[in-house]
């Protein structure tokens, strides 16, 4: 169980910071950011921001994972991204000046810090390293989504699942993949039933092991091969 107090996370000691966009900050900037940010505990399944509303700041994940998704016509979720410790989320809509086109919801208990819009934009204006890092991320994401769109259009569900498992394996690192079947289906872009059947196939083929809700990748090479280009 995570500490639920709102002040316990300090930027100077934040474990997620060193590999984040704030990793290159000097001590002075770290301290300034520490004073600007507020920190909050989120329980599992809690909304961070919702599609259609307007951003007033950005969220920096200290602990825990978050799903970022849109809802289609009939309210069905399409998961666009799963963010993990160290990621900043919600800055896209801030730059574009639009309402959020996605929602963000915690997948587990999280500690999340908040930096107000003006403070963050000021950082971007004055810190070229941060700015270039953010531009690089925006650009990289854009390329990834082009590939994602192509996959949706041209690959079978089986191929897309292999691709998705590789991405999820990356996000979860040493931990086992831990998502509901429904969330996983909404990430792959398929029906829950179809996903369940395909997971079983993968298990029968020795590609993954299923520990109830948690998935373990046994044969990454095979997944790479299955996923194609």
């Amino acid at each position: 169980m995570l500490d639920k107090s709102h002040k316990h996370v300090s930027c100077a000691t934040c474990g997620a910071r060193k590999d984040s966009h704030f990793g290159s900050f000097c001590d002075h900037d770290v301290e300034l950011t520490n004073e600007q940010k507020t920190c909050a505990y989120f329980k599992k399944g809690q909304a961070i921001f919702v599609e259609g509303s307007f951003p007033r700041g950005v969220y920096c994940l200290n602990q825990g994972k978050v799903k970022v998704f849109t809802r289609g016509d009939e309210g069905k979720e399409q998961i666009i991204h799963i963010a993990k410790e160290g990621e900043i989320i919600g800055f896209r809509a801030m730059f574009s000046g639009e309402a959020y086109k996605v929602s963000a919801l915690t997948l587990e208990e999280c500690n999340i810090c908040y930096i107000a819009k003006d403070d963050f934009l000021n950082m971007i204006d004055t810190n070229p390293t941060l700015r270039n890092g953010i531009m690089k991320e925006l650009s990289k994401e854009l390329g990834d989504r082009a590939v994602f769109i192509t996959n949706m259009a041209q690959k079978s569900v089986r191929e897309r699942l292999a691709f998705a498992l590789l991405i999820l394996g990356d996000i979860y690192g040493d931990e086992q993949i831990n998502l509901t079947r429904e969330d996983m289906a909404n990430f792959v872009g398929t029906a829950t039933e179809t996903l369940i059947r395909l997971l079983k196939d993968f298990k029968d083929e020795g590609i993954i092991e299923i520990h109830t809700r948690k998935l373990e990748i046994l044969d990454q090479e095979k997944l790479i091969h299955l996923a194609g280009k």
Copy 2:
């Protein structure tokens, strides 16, 4: 037929500039850019850059339209974007430091200017208005692609075609939409035969008029309704 000389386009008189990212440039910067850029004539169907190669500069469209696409496993194109006069293309991979994840190919005769990487990055570093405009575009595109992914996952081909026609109508403005059926199918993410059949349905329903290759939108409201959210 466009002028094919390589020097005829001047930034100062470029008709596409005022609504572009360079629209806010002062006279001095316009002149500097004019000296930095080179200009080239491209005939229809010519490649501007190709997936997998590394960017050495950006391309600014003075005249003509360009398709931006990826190729899936079997070489089938997925059109991600259709760029028109005034747009800058190819800067994503420059910021991300990766190889191009997309290719760009002219859809008609084009005049296209080229600005070398260092010159462009220097502009970005020193001109906050340009920089913010680019960041805004990156961010907006990212949101649009999230919606696109959701559409691919959840909408029928008919709905996606309606959506695509609205986007194309926007891009082509007063002109009629002018794409091969194959390109249109590769934009919608469907088979050419399916697209042809659906276009005929739309025609029978009085939504569009087909003038051989060119399409005219008759009932935009109906398209909006069909496309859904």
